[in-house]
């Protein structure tokens, strides 16, 4: 067996990121398409910034200081900014991987054309998720700059807030894409809203976990956005501990499950 065939066999056995070689052309396709729609960039960036000023600064003026689960007291805007970063990373990834992927899959039939080339289902899944993460990273860095200028960043650890936001995007994007392969009509997207909305409001996003009743705290701890929020808040406020690794591992595992599931399902849907 030649070295090359060993390498291909090994790469087939790995679920990720072996497809990256060809997947970059899927990203390339999206870059070309996006050149004409670059104004959309503003919407992805505006959402968290508007929340930050209305809730963080506006409501924050009424609330005063907040004591975090880590024990430090900070202004409400500083408390809520990391959570908004996490939530917008989630929202962007979910929107991309559900509505956009559904449209490409069922209406534009974009993936049918791709699969008639040497690209495989995994290239398509990895390429689409990568593209979504690239956009997400851009939005997140713009948000971080705004937060920094507004004086809401208090630690050098905040540099890691960007990769953390990408990880959140990966977890939600991969699972969202997996879920999308099971959807057959636009009505099914109501379930997406049903899952996203409560998470957005109650993942220790707008008030510390300690303010929830004991029983609910455990429910909150299970949801993925909670781990995203905890991770971002720890990094941006400099409350760094080993538990952050646990949060990151939770998100990484979710992402891996999503990618493997999504590639399989795209294969089943389009190749049979």
């Amino acid at each position: 067996m030649s070295v090359a065939s060993v390498a291909t066999r090994a790469s087939r056995a790995l679920p990720f990121p072996a497809g990256v070689g060809m997947a970059r052309h899927v990203v390339g396709r999206n870059v070309v398409a996006f050149r004409r729609a670059w104004l959309l960039l503003i919407s992805g960036f505006a959402e968290p910034v508007l929340y930050l000023f209305s809730l963080g600064v506006g409501i924050g003026a009424l609330v005063g200081g907040v004591t975090t689960d880590g024990g430090t007291t900070v202004s409400y805007a500083t408390f809520v900014a990391p959570a908004l970063l996490a939530a917008s990373a989630m929202n962007g990834a979910v929107f991309d991987s559900t509505y956009n992927v559904f449209f490409k899959l069922r209406y534009q039939r974009l993936y049918d054309a791709m699969l008639a080339t040497p690209l495989g289902p995994r290239d398509v899944a990895v390429g689409e998720i990568t593209w979504s993460l690239m956009r997400g990273a851009l939005y997140s860095s713009m948000f971080l700059v705004v937060a920094l200028v507004a004086g809401m960043v208090h630690s050098w650890w905040a540099l890691l807030a960007l990769p953390a936001a990408v990880l959140i995007g990966l977890a939600f994007g991969a699972v969202g894409m997996f879920a999308t392969t099971y959807m057959s009509s636009w009505q099914h997207f109501d379930y997406v809203t049903l899952a996203i909305q409560p998470m957005f409001l109650f993942s220790a996003t707008f008030f510390p976990l300690s303010t929830y009743p004991e029983a609910l705290q455990w429910v909150v701890r299970v949801t993925p956005l909670y781990h995203g929020v905890a991770l971002e808040r720890g990094l941006m406020l400099g409350e760094v501990g080993w538990s952050l690794l646990g949060n990151a591992a939770y998100l990484a595992a979710l992402g891996a499950v999503g990618i493997v599931g999504a590639s399989r399902r795209i294969g089943q849907l389009l190749l049979t």
Partner: protein, 258 residues
């Protein structure tokens, strides 16, 4: 066939490779032109070609060079910067074919290439496909149009419910499954039944359609003369050569296949 489906029965080898394990290598050498033009509507005409070429791992300069050639080939040079959506059906189909040629395929699969096109667009397309054939590309065409098959194909396979029922060149198929000529006879509608007996026996085969009788013969004029001698006077008669359509309908029947 495109190296993407699953083999349900029998064995499939494409370009001497097994699609189950060498799918990507096979697809790299195939051009696929599906029945529905699934072009990328977010992109312009030329971008469609560039992006698709990149999926085959071609370099940037290579896809630009190839796209320039193919835009000319597909007569789309003037629309290269336009979006795909406003293009006419014929243009979209030519773009789909141009796109499927980006990787210089050895084999081009065309699924009903001219369905839904107006006659002009059809002829332009046939002309392009002829050229490809001359350049040595193997065309595999599925079509319901027998005139198209007759025009483009060297070798034909007639499928009925997924089974091969006949195979050969258009000419050989006509020779084997039909007569040289066909006489079409029209009578008054109520009258037709009465003439069936008188007409039968003249040709090799007689087919009774709701509005006319088809007599399959080798010499149409001779058959007409002998019909006149028998006193058969149709409202109109027409002698024509047998076509692939006759062969196809004979082999697969006239019942609607849905």
């Amino acid at each position: 066939m495109e190296g993407v489906g699953v083999v349900t029965e029998g064995e499939l080898r494409i370009l001497d490779m097994d699609p189950a394990t060498d799918g990507a290598a096979i697809r790299a050498r195939l051009g696929v032109c599906p029945q529905r033009d699934i072009l990328d509507e977010d992109l312009s005409v030329e971008e469609n070609l560039w992006v698709y070429g990149r999926f085959f791992g071609l370099s940037r300069s290579e896809v630009h060079r190839r796209a320039d050639e193919l835009l000319q080939f597909a007569q789309l040079g003037e629309r290269r910067r336009d979006r795909v959506e406003p293009l006419s059906g014929g243009m979209k189909r030519r773009l789909t074919i141009a796109r499927s040629l980006m990787n210089n395929p050895e084999v081009l699969l065309l699924d009903e290439p001219t369905t839904g096109l107006d006659p002009q667009a059809r002829h332009v397309l046939w002309d392009r496909l002829f050229r490809l054939k001359r350049e040595g590309v193997t065309l595999i065409i599925t079509t319901h149009y027998m005139d198209e098959a007759e025009q483009l194909c060297d070798r034909l396979v007639v499928l009925d419910h997924g089974r091969i029922v006949a195979e050969g060149s258009p000419r050989a198929l006509i020779a084997e499954h039909s007569t040289r000529e066909v006489v079409e006879l029209r009578f008054d509608l109520d009258d037709q039944e009465r003439h069936v007996d008188a007409v039968s026996g003249v040709g090799e085969r007689l087919e009774v359609l709701p509005d006319r009788l088809l007599v399959y013969v080798d010499d149409g004029d001779a058959a007409l003369t002998s019909l006149h001698a028998r006193g058969v006077e149709p409202l109109s008669s027409l002698v024509r050569r047998s076509t692939l359509e006759d062969v196809f309908l004979h082999l697969t029947g006239r019942t609607l296949v849905d």
